[in-house]
């Protein structure tokens, strides 16, 4: 391991690094050990607390809840990608009466917390006479409005990062604006932005968990329900572990896909400029991809 940040270590530094390494391992193990000790001491690993999860009916319910989570994710993903493309095109329109409202729309829905959006749909609309609001409608609408706006910004950045000549060449051979967008700019921008798009999809998947708060019956809702079953010793921690591992597993899976796609696109582009430290995960990352 060599990096520009530090020399190849000499004998003294190797010793120091080993000591620090051992210290890190000890501290991490101590923290983990403490947590496990508390879990043991309070009987979280007792058979009675886990008995509930041996019933086939419970397995069935967990599978159903996972499907509910994935349904909300799938619907929100498709709808927000479509909304994102539409908004990105609107934002790039040269007509003021299109691009200004679209800009306000994306800015507004990126600024309102997702949970508040879901609550507005779930608690706010029914008294106004909107009758079709069920929890899944609230979850999907909230996710779509927020992530659609985020996708719009991602796609716009993708189109604006393309070399100017791409669009100009299209106009030069007589394509209309719509054709240039459809056949030249969009395909390139979508491909360039694919890794970021997938990491944003991980955020969509993570945010379906907010449905728990607006009573959408997904994994966490089920975990809370089983966790409060008194006759099985209210196994809230075991059920959180079960639901949590499914959630984290799904997210890690999707994040892995994002990583693979990113490596493949990067390999196609060729090596980027050499920068410090370990290779960055996603170039356009930071806050945009946070829940």
């Amino acid at each position: 391991m060599s990096s520009v940040l530090f020399d190849v270590p000499g004998p003294k530094a190797i010793l120091r690094h080993r000591l620090l390494g051992v210290l890190t391992v000890v501290v991490v193990l101590a923290i983990l050990g403490f947590i496990f000790w508390r879990l043991f001491a309070t009987g979280q690993f007792a058979a009675t607390k886990w008995q509930l999860f041996t019933f086939p009916l419970v397995h069935q319910r967990i599978i159903e809840a996972t499907i509910a989570t994935l349904t909300a994710f799938g619907m929100a993903a498709v709808l927000s990608l479509v909304l994102g493309i539409v908004l990105a095109i609107g934002r790039l329109s040269s007509r003021k009466w299109i691009n200004v409202p679209v800009m306000l729309f994306t800015e507004l829905f990126r600024a309102v917390p997702l949970l508040i959006l879901m609550m507005i749909v779930y608690y706010g609309l029914p008294p106004l006479g909107v009758t079709f609001v069920t929890p899944i409608v609230a979850v999907v609408t909230g996710l779509t409005l927020y992530n659609g706006s985020v996708f719009a910004e991602i796609f716009r950045a993708g189109i604006e990062s393309l070399p100017k000549g791409q669009g100009e060449a299209g106009y030069a051979i007589g394509l209309t604006k719509g054709q240039v967008m459809r056949t030249i700019l969009m395909p390139q921008a979508l491909r360039a932005m694919l890794p970021i798009t997938i990491s944003q999809l991980v955020v969509v998947l993570k945010d379906t968990a907010l449905g728990f708060i607006v009573t959408y019956q997904e994994l966490l809702y089920l975990a809370k329900f089983y966790g409060s079953q008194l006759q099985y010793g209210s196994p809230i921690i075991p059920s959180a572990i079960v639901a949590g591992s499914i959630y984290i597993g799904l997210c890690l899976l999707l994040a892995g896909v994002a990583k693979i796609v990113e490596i493949r696109t990067r390999a196609g582009v060729g090596r980027r400029d050499k920068k410090l430290g370990t290779p960055a995960p996603t170039p356009f990352d930071g806050g945009a991809s946070i829940a």
Binding site: M1, S3, V4, L5, F6, D7, A13, H17, L20, G21, V22, T24, V28, L39, A41, L108, A111, V112, P113, L114, I116, L117, M119, I120, Y123, G124, L125, L128, V202, K206, D207, T208, A209, L210, F212, I213, A223, K224, S234, I236, I237, A240, A243, G244, Y247, I248, C251, A255, K275, L276, G277, T278, A280, P281, P283, D285, G286, G287, I290, A291
Partner: protein, 215 residues
């Protein structure tokens, strides 16, 4: 307007707790994130491994799930009783720290290699080249993504509403007992959030202008 003015007590209390959550977990996340971010680029393999695992694991965990563990799991572990506000604060800090770490790391990645090479060439140690040469430059490049992290944190504080914390997200629940229309209350809350986010993005833009490095 009446909805806001007649229930100012709840609104003020709610947004006070939101701001408490925002500032304190922001500060903790900044410290924790800096530690984890520097672990990820450090020469000690065990530290790098820990940093990587922590960031990848927590970033792929829904915040709601982390809060779920703290709000429902913690009281079962026989620890001293803690306020729900404190538990939400810890959950938010642990979650946001990973984003701070990643923002810092991508900032370090923007510093040209020559800077670090020059620092090494004049014989600075890892600690010195980080603290005197790389980080001061990285911090400037980090301001915009870091402000994005804080904007996200501000919005994420609403998740605590699902876990018995009286903050902005919970205002609706309290006011529905007083018979206020939910939509009006929620639109007020949303409006105040838009204003708060606007303040943060304004700060982001002006800091960015002020600290822009000519390269």
């Amino acid at each position: 307007m009446d909805t806001l003015l007649n229930n100012l007590d709840i609104f003020v209390e709610g947004f006070k707790n939101t701001l408490i959550l925002f500032f304190s977990s922001g500060a903790i996340a900044l410290v924790l994130g800096t530690i984890i971010g520097s672990m990820r680029v450090s020469p000690v393999p065990a530290m790098r491994a820990f940093g990587t695992v922590y960031v990848n694991l927590v970033r792929n965990t829904p915040l709601t799930l982390i809060m779920f563990f703290f709000a429902f799991g913690y009281p079962k572990l026989g620890f001293p009783k803690a306020d729900y506000l404190v538990l939400a604060l810890i959950a938010l800090s642990l979650y946001t720290a990973t984003y701070v770490a990643e923002a810092l790391r991508s900032g370090v990645n923007t510093v040209p290699v020559g800077q670090a090479e020059a620092a090494r060439a004049i014989g600075l140690t890892f600690g010195q080249s980080m603290s005197l040469v790389v980080l001061p430059q990285a911090f400037r490049a980090v301001v915009p993504p870091m402000m994005n992290v804080f904007i996200a944190l501000l919005k994420n504080t609403t998740v605590a509403a699902g876990f018995s914390v009286l903050e902005a997200g919970a205002i609706r629940q309290y006011l529905s007992e007083r018979g206020e229309p939910a939509i009006v209350v929620l639109l007020w809350v949303a409006g105040i959030f838009v204003a708060l986010v606007a303040v943060l993005s304004w700060a982001q833009r002006s800091l960015e202008r002020k600290w822009k490095v000519a390269r």
